[in-house]
């Protein structure tokens, strides 16, 4: 956790908790990365769904992921009109492939200097409280 207080996250950034994502968000407030695994094909996915996007089966289970992954790609956002991002630029947003096959996250890497961003670096999930029910998943490089 970065130590920021809950009240610093604007309410309009906080998603409505859709039923299929309830388990995921419940995990985030415990600093656990919960992802779905398909019992039929064995692959994982994120964001949460009712059926596996890889094979279509609805025989899904929740697992706690290690939180470790690899940057598949990234960008440095240098122009953003929406608060609070307009004051945070430049910042890194990355696509992270988790160790668990099939699951890809999109997340900020707020502590990573833009010049240090690179495809292939190893990262770890961290949790940023946004409300009583939601913590945002970020990724950091101190694996």
């Amino acid at each position: 956790m970065s130590g920021d207080t809950v009240s610093e996250v604007p309410k309009y950034l906080i998603p409505r908790i859709s039923p299929e994502a309830a388990e995921f968000f419940a995990g985030t407030v415990r600093d656990e990365l919960r992802v779905q695994r398909c019992r039929a094909c064995g692959l994982h996915h994120h964001y949460p769904r009712m059926a596996c996007p890889h094979c279509g089966s609805d025989d899904l289970e929740w697992i706690t992921a290690s939180g470790l992954g690899t940057v598949h790609s990234y960008t440095v956002i240098r122009q953003q009109g929406i608060p609070p991002f307009n004051e945070q630029v430049p910042f890194v947003v990355a696509l992270v492939d988790l160790e668990e096959p099939g699951a890809r996250f999109i997340a900020q890497m707020p502590t990573l200097a833009p010049e240090d961003a690179a495809i292939g670096i190893r990262v770890r999930a961290a949790f940023q409280p946004a409300s009583e029910e939601v913590s945002f998943v970020e990724f950091v490089t101190d694996v």
Binding site: P10, K11, Y12, L13, I14, P15, R16, S18, Y47, P53, H72, S73, Y74, T75, V76, I77, R78, Q79, Q80, G81, I82, F85, N86, Q88, F91, V93, L95, R104, F105, I106, A107, Q108, P114, A117, I119, G120, A130, F136
Partner: protein
């Protein structure tokens, strides 16, 4: 099926015109261009507004169509419309279809489309997939940027190569008096323009303009009666891979890898037969990846291909000969303008931008975040 009429609304900046006015202006000009009467049109397609927009537009135009297509899947919607109209006209369900788009994007909404426009209800009101991206601060251009970054990593594509697309497109725009930006630019100009989302700069990005476009499609028999230069639709295909960039299966391959070969096969052509390419250039990377996906360059070799000058008027594949979205016109969605410019080229009506002897033109639309793709092959002869 043939394209028998094309019309462009005023632009690139028309604060005195509403979106509906721009649509009606383009429609009127396309009808006049075709030589048809308004009441000959029995099908209508449009996209981008929701809320029974096509029905409102038909009423505004005084049409009573019995065929409507409201497929709205981003900037490539109009290639989907052309595909659907092609099949419906082939089947005899409809005789003559107008596809219409227009928007006062610049005057009404300003330039914030790609870099964070405040969403009305925030994350809680967003479509479910986007509710996972919005809190990260990702922008529209940021989604494309992540795809471009991956292509560079895998294939060694460079910012200079991407910039050469902007430079060549601006050379085309210089010949189009209606283009938004016409002054020549260099690769250094692109690279020294503001970095918006690494690796994409401001000059890797399309403009935001006002504008409108309409095209009229009808049967070959009716087209022949009109006595205008014949422009045939020879093949078309459409598809998608994802909605949000987090779910794109491969950041370096779009649905164009399917739609291109499928449309080319129906048209009885190969990539080498194409005389001019009209490609939705939302960003330079969109052009590069689709050049590869449609087979104009092998996968991974789009960079050297564009850097060779291929996209210019004397190049191997003159592309976006009206100055494209990068320099000329981009009123929110551009897919329909591609079909218009392809038709003008095949009719020999492209003026200073004319590709000599153009017989095959391809329009390829991209929608969303490299999400939806549609390819239409046009020719001066039937397939």
């Amino acid at each position: 099926m043939c394209v028998v009429g094309v019309g462009l609304a005023d632009g690139p900046k028309t604060p005195e015109l509403s979106a509906l006015m721009l649509q009606a202006q383009a429609f009127g000009r396309a009808v006049a261009d075709s030589g048809l009467k308004k009441d000959d049109i029995d099908g209508l397609a449009s996209a981008g507004y929701g809320g029974m927009h096509e029905v409102q537009l038909a009423e505004y135009l005084g049409l009573r169509p019995h065929w409507l297509d409201s497929t709205s899947c981003g900037g490539s919607s109009f290639e989907f419309h052309a595909l659907h109209a092609y099949r419906a006209i082939q089947a005899g369900d409809v005789d003559t279809v107008a596809i219409v788009y227009g928007n006062n994007e610049l005057s009404a909404a300003g330039r914030s489309l790609g870099t964070g426009r405040a969403g009305g209800g925030g994350a809680a009101a967003m479509p479910y997939p986007m509710s996972w991206e919005f809190p990260t601060g990702l922008t529209l251009i940021g989604a494309y940027a992540m795809a471009a970054q991956r292509h560079m990593h895998q294939y060694g594509t460079t910012s200079e190569q991407l910039a050469s697309i902007s430079v060549q497109t601006r050379e085309h725009a210089a010949r189009n008096p209606h283009a938004m930006y016409r002054d020549p630019i260099t690769i250094d100009d692109v690279l020294s323009s503001k970095l918006v989302a690494d690796p994409l700069h401001k000059l890797d990005s399309c403009v935001i303009s006002d504008g409108g476009c309409a095209i009229i499609l009808t049967t070959e028999d009716r087209a022949r009666e009109l006595g205008r230069p014949m422009v045939y639709v020879r093949g078309a295909a459409a598809g998608m891979t994802h909605h949000s960039i987090q779910a794109m299966p491969d950041l370096t391959v779009t649905a164009g890898a399917v739609t291109g070969p499928k449309a080319f096969a129906e048209a009885g052509i190969t990539a080498a037969d194409v005389d001019t390419f009209q490609m939705y250039d939302s960003f330079t990377y969109t052009v590069l990846v689709c050049l590869e996906d449609l087979g104009f360059a092998p996968k991974g070799e789009g960079g050297p291909f564009v850097a060779s000058g291929a996209l210019g008027l004397g190049g191997a594949l003159p592309t976006n000969t009206d100055g494209g979205g990068l320099s000329a016109t981009h009123p929110g969605m551009r897919g329909l303008f591609l079909l218009c410019e392809a038709t003008r080229q095949l009719r020999g009506e492209a003026g200073d931008s004319q590709v000599d002897g153009a017989e095959i033109a391809v329009a390829h639309g991209s929608g969303g975040w490299l999400s939806t793709m549609g390819t239409v092959v046009l020719g001066t002869e039937p397939a």
